[in-house]
Amino acid sequence: MKRQCAARIVCIVVMLTIVFTVFSARLIDLQIARHQEYSRLAAEKNTIRQVIPARRGTIRDCHGEILADNLPMRTVVADGSHIVDPTALAKLAAPYLEMEEAELRERIRGDRKYVVVRRKLPEGNAIELSRALQAGGLKGLYFEPDSKRSYPNNGMLCHLIGFLDHDGEGIQGIEKTMESQLDGEDGFRHMERDRTGREIVIYRGQEQEPRNGADVYLTIDMGLQCIVEEELDAAVLELQPETAVALFVRPATGEIVACASRPGFDLNDVGSAQAEQMKNRAIIDMVEPGSTFKIVVASAAINERVATDATRVFCENGSFAYGGKILRDHHGYGSLGVHEIIVKSSNIGSAKLAMMMGEQRFYDYVTRFGFGRRSGVDLPGEIPGVVHPPHRWDKLTITRMPMGHSVAVTPLQIVMAMGAIANQGRLMKPQIVSKIVDEKGVTIRDFQPEVVREVVTPETAAYISDALREVVGERGTARRAHVDGYAVAGKTGTAQKVSPKGGYMEGKYVVSFAGYFPADKPELVGLVLVDNARLASSANYGGLVAAPVFARIAARAARYLNLTPTEEGESTLALNTEGDRTR
């Protein structure tokens, strides 16, 4: 009996031993052998890597006014495994999400753990929805931080600032060229969530703060930009041109202080803009500059001592037969000095100056003034223009190019060339970015003015400047560019529009005025270019169309910059009122 009992006990002990051995083996298998696998599975289920988005840097003008900012938004996501009643949730959330209830219900139905319900939800709506969900005891909708680029000035400076694509990457303007500086680096946080989806803060894991993008300060002065945009808008309204450009630069530094192109678009509504509206015409439009280009040949001739102040050029009384074609002047002139060739804007005089210099030397000066090459401004899409080398010229090019034909340039190149005259012969690199400042306010890069080259000597520049000053005087072609109280120097340009099919378009003109003021100590150099204004051919001249716009901008800019008047004025300065405008 005792032996039987002992056998039973042994049997039970053996069985228990086997059972516990199996259990132990399984435990060892789970806890040690497959530890990593199960840890990963558990982590996948409960641990998430929450991205902390970096703030994109702002774009500011030279005074720190914000031109591009970030508006906080939310991305609403749904976790189907947490949603108990999709119908009730959809009914409650649809108005806040500005969605159809049925559409929302369809989207959140099912067990998918991550469904993006709505992007770019305004912060206010998100907060209200969050409170409503709490009050209603509903769960399953979560809010992720997001942001939207916002441009407080809407369409102002649209071509320069640029905009972002759907992924938040800059695709035009400063947003594109300064992408690497503006864009920050997202941070992250590893965290665990309980079964209801809430974070368990005490198990918060590794955390890395985001590195916010740097702020980009432009050389643009919004006060001047406003003046330029207003006057350009008024001109567009009055003249109904196809396109118009106004660009102003500080000649001593090459800083672009104002730049506007028409047509424009609203940066906060890029979707509705046409491709034509998005072109920054200051750097991607090629035009034949017309007579503004005469400063090149005149400067070159004086600088090379091919002509002096005493040189007289016979202007064939207004009709010069060369290369089987007849080159004409607006009026018939006899012998003119270099000074008068500029003041009277003689085509024949300019052509003869170029012929005196020879093709190669003239071409050298064209390129030295920056034509035919990209200026290197920090804006995307700049084109070099078209300046053919002498071996590709035909017989007429030497007579056409000095008066701004047979050459295609950008408005920026014209301004910078005029700026070289205003800046004692030194060609500056155009500058649009002033400095880059990190999130702590430390300047990480300061852009300094850059002299590209000395195109002509200061004496030559002074000589040409003197002539340009007279262009705006009583004898010149740009009397309407006169600004009361300030000496203005400049040159008009009127060129027939080039047809894309070749040749010129009858009755269509690109007119311009490029100048600077005060002439003695230039603060600003600028260009107003109007493409195909709806005017009769007899009225469509740079001196009649573009020069008055330049004068209005210059008058207001002088007041804004508090420039000391340089000459006796007849009346008070033209002010920013409709009644004061004379058109």
């Binding site: 906080p72 907060i127 916002s150 368990i200 803060v201 930009q225 109280g485 508090n562 008070t572």
Partner: protein
């Protein structure tokens, strides 16, 4: 009979063990300490959860306030931007009177001659001086 009963009682009294007060007290103390420590641990753990939850709520509230603040600042920037102010100026919400040229007085430039510096430096006077 009674003698037998008395003997049995005496014997049973002899067999009774005395309660070991000291070890018992030690055991009780150990259990108490361990129990208290465990309770403290649970309480601290609970406190951590409660504080964590409060931290989360404060963080969320802070994020909300920051976002609201950013949204409001963006709104202010939009309303005070050059284009918005120009619009309001044109609509007549802001009235600005242009300053006449003769009413502008300019500060003397450093190093200017005393005789010139003493003259009221209006734009008109400046032209005469020049």
């Amino acid at each position: 009979m009674s003698a037998t009963t008395t003997t049995t009682r005496a014997a049973s009294r002899k067999q009774t063990n005395a309660i070991p007060i000291r070890p018992l007290a030690l055991w009780l103390l150990a259990v108490f300490v361990i129990g208290t420590a465990a309770l403290c641990y649970v309480r601290i753990k609970n406190q951590q959860h409660v504080l964590g939850e409060r931290t989360r709520q404060i963080e969320r509230r802070l994020a909300e306030v920051t976002s609201e603040n950013q949204a409001l600042r963006a709104q202010i920037r939009s309303l005070t931007s050059h284009s918005a102010l120009n619009r309001r100026l044109k609509d007549g919400f802001i009235a600005l009177i242009p300053i006449a040229d003769r009413a502008i007085a300019r500060a003397s430039k450093p190093g200017m001659e005393t005789a010139r510096a003493e003259v009221t430096r209006t734009a008109s006077a400046e032209r005469v001086l020049r």
